[in-house]
């Protein structure tokens, strides 16, 4: 039995919209789990059901062996960091942190000690007597973290807590949250639509789409072993190059063709021996997905020759845009690459990183 279990969780709003359809998830104690997905995928609704802020339509939630499905929030022993931080404006920072402790009937000295302790961790000791209106966004965020930290709850929930911060602050708070998690080992569920955030923080990522779980796995699995077309489309910046193609074999090499008929274009994916069991797919239509960083370039050699249309230097890496199979493909190269617009190159695709998806159920085609 896991620490936290979500069993066939379902949420239908009174207006008939079903936000969450059948979520099954098991989370171990101490895990940092990120719910990731585009807006409207049901991730926030799922989190709010965990918090008890949203009524569960069907299914159950078991926390530490106790069914909390229909308990009010205050009886669940949870803490939460809200998107707007929800730091109460009429209380000082210290009062904000102390209020949940007061409700737990802790004695005054213990509260004062706890406030000092978490304030130190969150580096807000200097602001304890200030009102939230006198703090910056990042400082308020720290107060929200301190408040959540102080209660020592069974489960820590975070609803897009970084989305209201500017880009630079976001990265530093991200590191801070990870550090806190390492020190406290609190079981945490974190909701975000930002994949970089998810990948940086999570022990496990839960990718959600249209109220369902698409894939659960570690950052590496989610990124490299995308089980569905949705995941491969959603993960990665710039996104993976995806094209509907027909597979064919030509002189021992695997070739993907798109367009068909006269203007047919083809892409050499490499030696057929790199794709064991590919024979059964010959002539079939599939979705081909290749991440930009899994494509290299070389001197024109007759294979996969194309010309570079756009060059976007990013400092640490360079993004090239070229026309492949009638679509705009992106290529990501490490470092500052010296290349001109219009230059002819040959594309080198890493056969091991090519991902194929069924056109019907949009699931990954396993080759072995």
């Amino acid at each position: 039995m896991s620490y936290l279990e979500l069993n066939s969780l379902k949420k239908t709003y009174p207006n008939g919209v079903t936000a969450v359809k059948d979520i099954d998830l098991e989370i171990e104690k101490g895990e940092f789990v990120v719910l990731l997905g585009p807006s409207g995928c049901g991730k926030t609704t799922t989190l709010r059901m965990l918090a008890g802020l949203e009524e569960v339509t069907e299914g159950s939630i078991i926390l530490d062996g106790k069914d909390i499905t229909h308990l009010p929030p205050r009886q669940r022993d949870i803490s939460m960091i809200f998107q707007s931080y929800a730091v109460w404006p009429h209380m000082t920072v210290a009062e904000n942190i102390a209020y949940p402790l007061k409700l737990r009937k802790m004695d005054k000295q213990a509260i004062a000690a706890k406030v000092q302790e978490v304030a130190k961790i969150c580096k807000i000791v200097d602001y304890l007597n200030r009102y939230p209106a006198q703090l910056s966004g990042g400082q308020r965020q720290r107060v929200a973290v301190a408040r959540a930290l102080a209660v020592n709850s069974k489960l820590s929930l975070m609803d897009e807590p970084l989305s209201n911060l500017d880009a630079k602050l976001r990265v530093s708070v991200r590191t801070f949250l990870k550090e806190i998690h390492r020190n406290t080992g609190a079981t945490t569920i974190f909701v975000t639509h930002d994949q970089a955030e998810a990948m940086a923080l999570a022990d496990r990522i839960v990718v959600m789409n249209e109220g369902r779980i698409e894939q659960v796995g570690s950052t590496r699995e989610i990124y490299n072993e995308c089980e569905s077309l949705f995941t491969v489309q959603f993960m990665g910046t710039p996104p993976a190059n995806i094209q509907k193609v027909a597979l064919a074999s030509s002189q021992g090499r695997l070739v993907a063709a798109a367009g068909g008929g006269e203007g047919a274009m083809s892409l050499d994916l490499g030696d057929q021996s790199a794709f064991p069991g590919i024979e059964r797919l010959m002539g079939e239509e599939v979705f081909l997905a290749v991440r930009p960083e899994n494509i290299g370039i070389g001197e024109p050699n007759g294979i996969n020759e194309t010309s570079i249309e756009i060059v976007e230097p990013q400092g640490a890496y360079t993004i090239l845009v070229t026309n492949v199979l009638g679509g705009e493909w992106k290529i990501m190269l490490e470092g500052d690459v010296d290349i001109r617009i219009g230059q002819k190159v040959s594309l080198e695709i890493d056969p091991g990183k090519v991902m194929l998806y069924d056109t019907q159920n949009k699931k990954r085609i396993s080759l072995t």
């Binding site: 009174p14 918090a51 008890g52 802020l53 009010p72 929030p73 205050r74 949870i78 803490s79 939460m80 809200f82 998107q83 707007s84 931080y85 929800a86 109460w88 404006p89 009429h90 209020y99 949940p100 409700l103 737990r104 009102y131 939230p132 209106a133 408040r147 209660v151 929930l157």
Partner: protein
Amino acid sequence: MHVSRRTGFFKSPTWFLVPVVIYYAAFWIRPTISVIIESFTDKAGAFSFSNYVRLFSQEAIRTAFLNTVLFTVGSAIIQFVLAFALALWLNKKFRFSNLVLFITLIPMAFPPAAVGILWKTGLYRFGWINSFLCAIGLMNPANPVDWMSFRNLNAVMLLIVVDTWTVLPSVMIILLAGLQNFNKEFEEAGWVFGANKFQTLKDIVFPIMKPTIITAMILRMIAAVQVWLIAVMIFGYNVVPFLVERIAYNVDVITFAKYARKDAYTISVIVAAIVLISVSMYLRVSGDKQKGGETT
């Protein structure tokens, strides 16, 4: 956010306030000053407190003062509690909530004259209130209560009920606007961190809503001190005296009595003083209104 781009005196946008200031100088400050002067002068025009002395020796004025205080305090408390409860309830979105909102606002549209007819026809011995109570079996049709025979404290309480029916929507509307602007996450944070519904209301919603509550209550208190029309419409003059009812009585009924005008003016000054004092007392009691900070 306040912007001040041009600082030149003549380019200042405050010049656009001149028409308003002139308007108020002509139609408010001038009559007000003349009312105040009249209240402090005798018939001959000499400075004197005789008007105040004469008024305070009148039994009716003392009763009116007491009734006004009772009415203001009673209606303010009852209406605040009911209006807040109603606003909390209406702030939850449910099916037809827009229609229910409209229904609750209907009394606001009633002109005082209509309110008078409505309750007069209801409160007399054979009125609709008794008809309804008989219909649902709470009253014996052979022996109906004559509500209009109520006097003193009972009458004041009856007027508080009638007044509440009429003005509750206008109090509620201000609180509802405040609740709509209220960031729901403040409340949710309270629940999540262990507060029950009542604690959340007391420790989080009320304090954050304070500026809105103060606005609503001040506007209500100003109006409540000046109650008179419903009293006159239902009971007639002289039955349940209120301070402003006394003014209207002097102005409307005994217009040509010897001290009618003087009395009316003097009571006006007293009423204005009471309003001013009670509003500032309320502000003092409810504390620093700036601390509420931003609510979004």
